[in-house]
C-alpha cells in the first residue's frame, strides 16, 4: 500500500451524519468548530434533486452549524458544473425548487438535457422534447438514477426509469452525477486543490457515501447514525477505512490520527 498522503480535505454528508432530519447530531456543532481549527478544507455534500443550496444552508444554520454556502456541494451543483465545463445549454427536467442552483446558466435553444426527480415534467410531450434533443447529440445528465422512492401514499417512480427509457430510445448512456458516482466526489474536490488521496469522506450510507468515496480514491469513515444498520460495514469491499459512532467521534479520529 502506498504511503499515506497528508489529509487536506474532509467531505461531510448532511442528512444522517451532521443532523438527522430536523435535529443536529449531539455534539456535532462543536465537532465542526474543532475540525475547522485544523488545516483542512471542509465540504458538505449531499444528493438532492429539489433542495437548492440556499434551502440547505438555511436548515443547517438554523441547527447551529457554522457553514458558508460555497462549502455546500450537491448533486445539483455537480450537474451545474458539468454543464459549465461542457458549455452547454440545458433543458432542465428538474423540480422548480432546484432552479435557483442553475441561475446564470443559459437555457434558450437547449443542447443538453438534465433529468432530476420531476414528475410534473415526465409527461409524453416533454419526454419527446428531451428525446429529440438527445437523439440529435445533446448529452443526457442524470442527477441520479433512483428506481423509486417512498411517499406517504405508496411507492413512486424515481428519475431512474425515465433516464433508462431515454437511454434506450437514443442508444446513449447518461452521465450520472450524484453519489455514489466517482464524478460526484471528484467534482466536490474541484477548487480545493486536493487530490482524492488527500481527502476523507464521513457519511452514514455505507454504499453511497463511503463506498463511492473509496472508489474515487478517498478514505471513508462510516458513522453509526442516520440510515446506518448493523453490519453495513461488511457490505462494501474494501471495507470502510473506519467505522465509528458518530460525526464527533470521526472528527476526533481525524484530528488525532490523520493529520
Amino acid at each position: 500500500m502506498a504511503a499515506r498522503r497528508a489529509l487536506k480535505a474532509v467531505l461531510v454528508d448532511l442528512n444522517g451524519t451532521l443532523h438527522v432530519e430536523d435535529s443536529a447530531v449531539p455534539g456535532a456543532q462543536e465537532a465542526l468548530k474543532k475540525l475547522r481549527s485544523a488545516p483542512v478544507t471542509v465540504r458538505f455534500v449531499t444528493n438532492t434533486t429539489k433542495e437548492s443550496k440556499r434551502d440547505l444552508l438555511e436548515r443547517l444554520t438554523g441547527l447551529g452549524f457554522d457553514i458558508a454556502e460555497h462549502e455546500i456541494f450537491t448533486s445539483l451543483t455537480a450537474a451545474r458544473n458539468l454543464l459549465e465545463q461542457q458549455q452547454v445549454r440545458p433543458l432542465l427536467l428538474v423540480d422548480d425548487k432546484a432552479l435557483p442552483d442553475f441561475t446564470g446558466i443559459g437555457t434558450d435553444n437547449p443542447n443538453a438535457v438534465v433529468v432530476g426527480l420531476a414528475p410534473e415534467h415526465f409527461h409524453y410531450e416533454m419526454m419527446n422534447r428531451a428525446f429529440r434533443l438527445i437523439l440529435d447529440g445533446a448529452p443526457l445528465i442524470a442527477i441520479h438514477k433512483a428506481r423509486y422512492f417512498k411517499k406517504k401514499d405508496g411507492l413512486c417512480l424515481g428519475p431512474g426509469p425515465f433516464v433508462t427509457g431515454l437511454e434506450y430510445a437514443t442508444d446513449t448512456k447518461a452521465t450520472v452525477v450524484g453519489k455514489p458516482e466517482k464524478t460526484f466526489f471528484l467534482e466536490a474536490l474541484r477548487g480545493t486543490d486536493c487530490a482524492p488521496e488527500e481527502a476523507v469522506m464521513i457519511g452514514d450510507d455505507c454504499r453511497d457515501d463511503v463506498g463511492g468515496a473509496q472508489q474515487a480514491g478517498m478514505r471513508g469513515i462510516l458513522v453509526r447514525t442516520g440510515k446506518y444498520r448493523p453490519a453495513d460495514e461488511d457490505k462494501i469491499n474494501p471495507a470502510p477505512y473506519l467505522t465509528c459512532e458518530n460525526f464527533p467521534e470521526a472528527v476526533e479520529h481525524i484530528l488525532k490520527q490523520m493529520l
Binding site: 409524453y124 428525446f131 431512474g160 426509469p161
Partner: protein, 269 residues
C-alpha cells in the same frame, strides 16, 4: 447506394409490409401517405403476389386501422393486418392472465372480451399521451405489488416517425418499467419470432419465399431475417442514415421506398 444485384428479388411468392414508415407516416389528422406506396400496393395485388401487413400498430383496432388505410388509398382488409393486440389476447387467455392496460384509448376495444378485474399483469402499448407519470406510476405500483410481476409489451420499438417529428415508442416505457421493477418484459409483436410466424401463416407462404419490407432496421428487418425471410430496409419513415452502417443487421437490400422495392420485385417475377 448501389444495390448488390437483384438476386434478393427472385423466387418470391408473398410480401410482408410494415405500415408506418412504409405505407404512410402517421400524424395529426390521420397521417400522410408516402409517395408511390398506394400505387405499389395496387401493383402487388394485380401481380398475383400475396400480401400481408405486419405491423406493431397499437393505436387502433384492426378494423379501424384497415378502414383508415383504405381511406388513404390502400386497398387492404382487416384480415390482411397482423397486429399485436389479437396476439396478446390469445396469450392472455392461454395463461389465465388478467391485464391492467396502459395503452392508447383506441386500442381498448381489442381487449373487450378479456377479463380485466383484479389484474395480475400489465399490458403496455404505444400509449402516446396516455404515458403520463400518473398512469406509469399506477402500472408500476401494480407490478411491484405482484408476487410474480408479468409485463407484456406490445412491441419494443425505440421511436417512430410522425408528421411532426420522431416520437418515443413503447420500448422506451417498457425499459422504464423493467428498470423500476427489476423485471423482464415479454414482447408480443415485432421482432418476436412467433409474431412473424403468425404473419407468415396468414400470408400463406413459407419464409424462404417471403420478403419483409420495413423502416425499422432492428424490429422489421433484423427480426424478419431471423425467421428465415429476406428483408428490405426502406429509406422512408424512421430511417436515419446511420442505419446504413448498423453493426448487426445487414438488410438484403436498401431501397428508397416501397415503390422502388416493388418495381424491382415485379421486374424479377
Amino acid at each position: 447506394m448501389a444495390e448488390r444485384g437483384r438476386g434478393w428479388a427472385r423466387a418470391v411468392r408473398g410480401l410482408l409490409l410494415d405500415v408506418s414508415g412504409v405505407l404512410y407516416d402517421s400524424g395529426a389528422g390521420g397521417g400522410v401517405p408516402i409517395a408511390g406506396s398506394a400505387e405499389a400496393v395496387r401493383r402487388i395485388k394485380a401481380s398475383g403476389l400475396k400480401l400481408q401487413l405486419c405491423t406493431n400498430e397499437t393505436q387502433a383496432t384492426r378494423e379501424d386501422f384497415a378502414r383508415k388505410l383504405w381511406a388513404m388509398g390502400f386497398e387492404v382488409s382487416a384480415a390482411q393486418v397482423t397486429a399485436p393486440a389479437p396476439a396478446a389476447c390469445r396469450l392472455l387467455r392461454e395463461r389465465g392472465l388478467r391485464p391492467h392496460l396502459l395503452v392508447h384509448d383506441d386500442l381498448v376495444p381489442e381487449f373487450a372480451e378479456i377479463n380485466k378485474t383484479n389484474p395480475n399483469c400489465v399490458v403496455l402499448g404505444d400509449a402516446a399521451e396516455n404515458f403520463t407519470y400518473a398512469n406509469l406510476n399506477e402500472a408500476f405500483r401494480l407490478l411491484i405489488g405482484m408476487e410474480k410481476p408479468v409485463l407484456i409489451s406490445l412491441g419494443k420499438g425505440r421511436y417512430y416517425k410522425e408528421t411532426d417529428g420522431l416520437k418515443l415508442d413503447v420500448g422506451a416505457y417498457m425499459k422504464a418499467l423493467e428498470y423500476a421493477c427489476d423485471v423482464q418484459a415479454e414482447v408480443v409483436g415485432k421482432p418476436a419470432k412467433s409474431f412473424f410466424e403468425s404473419a407468415l401463416a396468414e400470408l400463406g407462404v413459407p419464409p424462404e419465399q417471403a420478403i419483409m419490407i420495413g423502416d425499422d432496421i432492428v424490429n422489421d428487418v433484423g427480426g424478419a431475417q431471423q425467421c428465415g425471410m429476406r428483408a428490405l430496409q426502406v429509406r422512408t419513415g424512421k430511417y436515419r442514415p446511420s442505419d446504413e452502417n448498423h453493426p448487426e443487421v445487414k438488410p438484403d437490400a436498401y431501397v428508397n421506398n416501397l415503390a422502388e422495392a416493388v418495381d424491382i420485385i415485379l421486374q424479377e417475377l
